[in-house]
Subunit: 302 residues, 2 copies
């Protein structure tokens, strides 16, 4: 295993930032991160946070390639969106060089992608890099991929281009319900353990059957807690299954029968996989961090 990093790959999100030192042979030398995401720091703080993250490991000159919210208007420096259909093999051409970084770092921030069609306005920052990573992990991939998360993305890729995409606020909705809504009384348990299979299954079934009734079906989480004495782990499984299955059912016309890559955490992907299976669709789980690193490698080489 190589012990010297040649360059640094960075995923700078809204809540967190992660960095990986990459050796000349492509292996990962170190991995680090903090909660200093774009949403928690000011424009002037970016150089200092980067130094905190990689200053010790990277003593000499090094390239730093960043994807994600560092390129947002409120980030380090705005990297204007590419428009759909966006050629994923030309992400680097849209990158910008921010000011203020330590002199030994050669920093680039990759652009996000936007979709301007009226009624379908949408934006992504970071997922385009994961999609490029997907193309490296599954060469020649064509079709629909799902990137589960706070703001899940459904992406259609044809000939290396991101043709169209659709965001769903599934992950954020779960947090809103669990933290701030009347349902929080029914969701008091530990939500990091394995999901309650019965609740999850009922939620998936309800969401697939009636995605148009989400605002009513979520209320059932509370009513079932009151009337049927369902425990908080059932309620949390039900809500999670319901939200994910609703997202899947709403995007049914994106599915053509082919297996679907799922680029996300193992925990989330498992529920997407179960919902897709009920529609007769196989899925291919892909580790999100791995896709990000592969995408940043690919963009650097463009």
């Amino acid at each position: 295993m190589a012990t010297t990093s040649e360059w640094v790959a960075v995923d700078w999100g809204t809540s967190n930032v992660r960095a990986w030192g990459i050796a000349g042979d492509g292996s990962t030398v170190f991995s680090t991160g903090s909660d200093k995401g774009m949403g928690r720091i000011g424009k002037a703080d970016f150089p200092g946070v980067l130094d905190e993250l990689i200053g010790v490991q990277m003593a000499g000159p090094a390239e730093v390639v960043i994807c994600g919210m560092a390129g947002a208007r409120q980030g380090w420096r705005e990297a204007p969106y590419l428009d759909t259909p966006a050629d994923l093999h030309r992400l680097n051409a849209g990158s910008v060089r921010p000011e203020g970084a330590d002199a030994r770092f050669d920093v680039r921030i990759l652009p996000g992608v936007c979709q301007r069609q009226a009624g379908h306005e949408d934006v992504m920052r970071g997922e385009e890099t994961q999609l490029l990573g997907l193309l490296h992990l599954q060469p020649g991939f064509s079709g629909t991929a799902i990137l589960p998360g706070t703001h899940s993305k459904w992406a259609e890729i044809r000939d290396g281009r991101l043709v169209r995409f659709s965001s769903a606020m599934t992950g954020e909705l779960y947090e809103l319900f669990a933290e701030h809504s009347v349902l929080r009384h029914a969701l008091t348990g530990d939500r990091t353990g394995p999901a309650n299979e019965e609740g999850l299954g009922e939620g998936i079934q309800a969401g697939l059957a009636r995605p148009d009734m989400l605002t009513s079906l979520v209320f059932r989480t509370r009513a079932a807690g009151l009337l049927s004495a369902k425990g908080s782990d059932w309620c949390s499984g039900y809500l999670s299954g319901l939200l994910i299955a609703t997202e899947v059912a709403g995007h049914r016309d994106w599915l053509d029968g082919a297996p679907v890559p799922l680029v996300g955490s193992e925990r989330l992907s498992r529920t997407y996989c179960a919902a897709l299976k009920r529609l007769g669709i196989e899925s291919l789980p892909i580790d999100a961090a791995n896709a990000t690193i592969e995408g940043l490698k690919g963009a650097r080489a463009q």
Copy 2:
């Protein structure tokens, strides 16, 4: 106009409590209220809050008829739910007498209604009284009524019975998005003024067309703000129209072409009315406080 109240009608909600002094001829002598809803006070506080509200106006013995969350398990005293199909003309038979009230008050709390069918579990407390009020305001009413609000209710009434109902978290979802989600950045304006007609119209159209895509269409509020420079009043109108139209579209099979009573605030009812109109359905706006008072009168006379 009568100047002496014979009894007191009370609507004790989660966030607020309202009380009306009612004369022997049925006219309202006084109206009062506070923010000491069930969610903000303990069981032992109810007698004191009632005294604060009506102690001065009601010097002598008086009946007090209460609907709403005072009858919840965490309220003053639990008034067990009636089951659907629930005879609205027998609400009083399910009422309970709580302890601790000042000796001159004869207090009754009306029951809520629950629906236990698996997959359709649902609960209401307070709306059953408004529905009884509706039967007094529209004698012989049969069909579907909508009660817009934090947790909107769709109710089917046949022969004076509440046959089935369905809650939707529409109002609470709006607040969650506006206060706690990433969309709050796009919803910074005053939300109490008249809604932006263009945003409202686009939201209604999107919700009616694709109620199954709500979790994606809400994200458009943010994307449209970023890409099309839509102002916060457009975004707030869009979100409001989208959520309400999604609720309406999801309940399409509750509509049989007959005009639909809308028991709610004027502001909310206007958007429901616009969404229903696009489906060719007329609506009959009914003031929510009026329906509550009529329902409490009706229950007292049972």
